[in-house]
Symmetry: C2
Subunit: 334 residues, 2 copies
DNA sequence: CTGTTAGCGCCTTCAT
DNA sequence: ATGAAGGCGCTAACAG
């Protein structure tokens, strides 16, 4: 043994006195192997500290243990949480997530899909249904499993896992109106990047319309959501002077900012102004009054998605949709 | 052209009327190529929509465009931010990050190092200096570049990028004592998992010792840091009755929780109680009074690390250490 | 500046 | 239940 150089299948085979093929079978747990043979092989494997070369395996089998994960952003805490769920679903398997970030740019997404496909991954996971035509074609043409996460309001390529954002918006409207608020305003962020926020807005308006109401004011900031911009946006909309009893925010980041403005400006919540967010972030529940919000179960979405995708290497005839639902969190701010 | 099947180098070569090798050279931008030849090759590449098979490339070159990234957690926002920095450093290159999460478990880290090395990555990035012996041996034996991030207080295997947590702790002590506080308490979380928090604690104690002071109280919660546990911990330490003028928290999560307790319990900040955190999270700056804290530049750490690691495929003779420093943020809570 | 020749380490297929 | 042969798609020498 010249040691030092990394051991290959051949080394293990020699040491265990079997063919490479048998070693390969043991590793992949495929085909029947005599218990005694398996024992010898395993012994040889850890005697040598053998670790299979994934590149060679992928090349030979034209498929890899990689799961490509494409996220719009890492700044928004919900995506790391989605990633956590994906990780949890991958735990105990040999799959490794390879990740990319689009910054909400569909061209970048297409680019990422292309480079991820170059690894012949077992699955590609992305968010939403918006893709460039080329991206969609590449995904459809490749035979990898495709998960489109967060949203379920359209027909997916292969599998969608998420919740109805329109439904969540309606639920927010229902919650607020049932609590007796009728002068309701909306404070949100950029819809171009965040289509799901827009869907919730539409649901909110529909829900209000159902009971003969409409938004009394709305304010949208440019750029992504953040605590700071939520704080500023609420200050701005209140400064406009419209009479407002409750504010529905595009998400918890914005809502927490709004709440902090109320604290700083001594606006009684919810008596003078009720606040409601979306997502159910931890920070919202740590506020002096826990935030009324809607729990979108990001972790479950990610976990369910990988588990479902990896169950079978092939797509079904019909795309599947898994609704992970949402839960109203009453809180104390609305 | 039988279309449908994914094109390979051979297809491109045939179409461009050159050898496979030439195509390979064009793709990797290696060796001199006649402008005319390069044009033809590129034309053929996008005529066919050719995407190189990464597995084949890795196998042949025994090195891949993968950067293995091992994070202790995704729940703590600082690690997604570190990942953002890593991403930023990778932007515009063909490298792809493959990520793993240890949940602060060194055995899991070792396991991840092993499976990531199976991909023959260009570099492996992990956090801190604590690894199992086996893990350290694997990293040292492999010739991949190794980045150990966040901390710089020990000798790295290859490259360390981060800040001195002991120094940051001392800086917190200095800040608080200079502001005239002398009855200082500490509220923190689990040190076993978070060694850097422990290092800051030690620095804090040293810094106080330098001016003849010592902590008047301390409280540590089990488990990871969170806003909720910070809130509860501050409530607990105040209930104990010791006279306290200022509290140094193990990080901003805990400190924000503490601040929220003060808001809820109507404790005037900083007049009755001063608060200081660590990290410089956005949420701390959105509070009614911006949190006094220490900015640890996670994004820069990640970005600098990959940029430095990928500059050269080989390790230097001596390990390198890059200090990204920290910045006191005065805020208004201390 | 370009082509030829050998693998890289594993998996698949077909035998036995 | 195991082995032998061939090839996956690319890159690394070495020629020329």
């Amino acid at each position: 043994m010249t040691a030092l150089e990394t051991p290959t299948l051949a080394h293990v085979a020699r040491l265990a006195n079997v063919s490479e093929n048998t070693v390969s079978r043991v590793i992949r747990d495929k085909g029947a192997i005599a218990p005694e043979t398996r024992r010898r092989v395993i012994e040889a494997i850890d005697a040598l500290g053998y670790v299979p070369n994934r590149a060679a395996g992928s090349l030979a089998s034209s498929s890899s243990m990689i799961v490509g994960v494409i996220l719009p952003s890492l700044s928004n805490i919900v995506f790391p949480e989605l990633l956590r769920g994906i990780h949890a679903g991958l735990a105990g398997t040999s799959y490794q997530p390879m990740i990319g970030v689009t910054d909400y740019d569909l061209e970048k997404e297409q680019q990422l899909i292309s480079s991820l496909l170059a690894w012949q991954p077992a699955a590609i996971i992305t968010t939403g249904f918006d893709h460039t035509d080329a991206a969609r074609r590449m995904l459809e043409a490749s035979k990898v499993r495709v998960g489109e996460l967060m949203d379920i309001d359209r027909r997916p390529i292969d599998l969608a896992v998420g919740l109805s954002h329109r439904g969540a918006g309606r639920a927010m409207a229902r919650h607020l109106t049932r609590r007796g608020y009728s002068k309701i305003a909306y404070v949100g962020h950029d819809w171009d990047a965040d289509r799901r926020a827009h869907a919730r807005y539409r649901g909110l308006c529909e829900g209000l319309g159902d009971v003969g109401l409409a938004l009394v004011a709305e304010h949208r900031v440019d750029g992504p959501s953040s605590t700071l911009s939520g704080r500023q946006a609420l200050a701005a909309i209140l400064a406009d002077g419209a009479e407002i009893e409750a504010v529905a925010f595009s998400n918890d980041d914005m809502a927490v900012g709004g709440y902090l403005h109320c604290l700083a400006a001594a606006v009684p919540v919810p008596d003078r102004l009720a606040l409601m967010g979306f997502n159910g972030l931890e920070i919202g529940q740590a506020l002096p009054k826990p935030l009324a919000t809607v729990l979108s179960n990001r972790f479950a979405i990610g976990k369910t998605a990988v588990e479902t995708l990896l169950k079978s290497p092939d797509r079904a005839f019909e795309p599947a949709i898994i609704d992970t639902g949402f839960t109203i969190i009453d809180g104390a701010t609305a």
